[in-house]
Symmetry: C2
Subunit: 260 residues, 2 copies
DNA sequence: ACAAAAGTGTTGTCCTTACACCCATGC
DNA sequence: GCATGGGTGTAAGGACAACACTTTTGT
């Protein structure tokens, strides 16, 4: 990274970006039987944030969110706008952090720049196949990236990004019955246990194993792809794929698991 | 209305409002067994619009939406943010309309003012008890107000407000299983037929009368308030009220009517 | 008596629930 | 053998769809 980049952003960015409208993306992946969210660590600040940025003047928010994640991951991920955050204080940075940032970049954070004002945040959630995300691009402002379990994200989150992840999870719970969420999160072949675990991770409660399998098979949305080749210390499970047409058809009337 | 008001808005408004962030409210009411939306007709333009306006610098979007509908109706209505519209051309006004507006106000619409730029729109839907909305406040820019059936709104809508009403209806369909939608739209006492008709209006398909009644009664969310006093040429129906606690409890696991 | 709307009942089917039981594998 | 996880079966109960039937009112 070059210091010039940040200086140019600070002094020229107002020509490219809409100064008071930002986009934040909660990119989710499913790995190790857990839902995980991609976070970036900010240089100097010792804070984690969602991938995001200002909306450009010549793009709409959908395009902006796609651009932001394309730049970071190289991928076109499934994106859904879920809420716009407008509270007056959501964009403020505490004094110690401002000082740290200044020490790193040799100039003030925010103060006096075009983005030193109230900024609203349009929240998107993104769904990606975890294994396909093979690299995360860092930039002038970020020093590290990591997948965090959604139920164990770090304390030191920037702005209101903690709240935003919570909102994304609530939206995902709302949408899982009617949107092809599992298709976007799982690899093309998966076991029944993985599918069930994904549902449980999203919904936040556990489901009966036998009944889950029956419901899925009766729905006619899965194709049996035969036995897994990876042998563990147990019976080898079958692998399944989505019958995409049937899955999307079933989503129209909803795939619903009631609590309890 | 005084012309001064508009001039002051055009020349001084940037001090009060966030120039590029607007709020649009799809206020819904249930009347005559139909869902209706409150629209305002613009002076000079011969166009209808949703109640809305710019977000103020010292309020968040929720407060802005509440303020806008409070000013118009005098009421605190149930409000839900559902989508933010950011397309580049959504705020443009066609040339003939600009001319009409100029003829009316004696000055250009948009051109050269602080709001002559890209504006995004945060969409809210509002739910009100129709009979409680007894007056609609007009202002410098509006000349008429009317409730329109949501399935028969006028052709000449301002900006992308037609699309926004569609989005509000989709959001309402999404939310009706889990949010106290019917409680907010119906009067305190209502007949079973009215409740069913409301559900059908929201969902967009019809339900079996006998089964609907059974499901509602079994859910234990209604209190039987005895017979209606208004006599028509038929058997007098019972009136019901929501058992609010039970209704909200039931909404946690969802009150779902599947298509077909 | 009749039409129209309100209220109730019936029947079969399907889904869900709560388990129990077997199978396959590596140690 | 045994622990572990994968796959299947079952019986009871509930929910739901599709009706038919009865009741009450004003004309």
């Amino acid at each position: 990274m070059k210091m010039d980049d940040y200086k140019r952003f600070a002094t020229e960015g107002y020509r490219v970006y809409v100064p008071n409208i930002s986009i934040a993306c909660t990119l989710l992946g499913f790995h190790d039987n857990k839902l995980k969210v991609l976070l970036l660590r900010w240089k100097g600040l010792d804070k984690w944030s969602l991938p995001g940025g200002f909306m450009k003047q010549d793009e709409d928010a959908d395009e902006g969110a796609a651009r932001i994640l394309k730049e970071r991951t190289g991928l076109d991920v499934y994106l859904q706008q879920y809420h716009t955050y407008t509270s007056l204080n959501r964009f403020t940075i505490d004094e110690p952090s401002q000082k740290k940032f200044k020490d790193t970049f040799g100039m003030e954070v925010l103060k006096g720049h075009w983005y030193d004002k109230r900024v609203i945040g349009i929240g998107y959630y993104g769904l990606a196949e975890y294994a396909k995300v093979t690299r995360i691009e860092l930039d002038m402002i970020t020093i590290d990236s990591r997948w965090w379990p959604v139920d164990d994200i770090p304390e030191n989150m920037l702005f209101n990004h903690h709240e935003m992840i919570g909102g994304a999870m609530k939206a995902l719970q709302r949408d899982v019955a009617h949107e092809p969420v599992c298709l976007k999160l799982l690899p093309s072949k998966f076991t029944m246990a993985e599918l069930q675990c994904l549902y449980e991770s999203i919904l936040g409660y556990s489901l009966d194993r036998g009944n889950f399998r029956k419901k899925m098979m009766n729905a006619g949305i899965l194709k049996d792809m035969g036995e897994s080749t990876t042998r563990k210390a147990h019976k080898t499970p079958h692998l399944y794929s989505f019958d995409v047409r049937a899955y999307k058809k079933a989503l129209q009337s909803g795939i619903i698991f009631k609590l309890q």
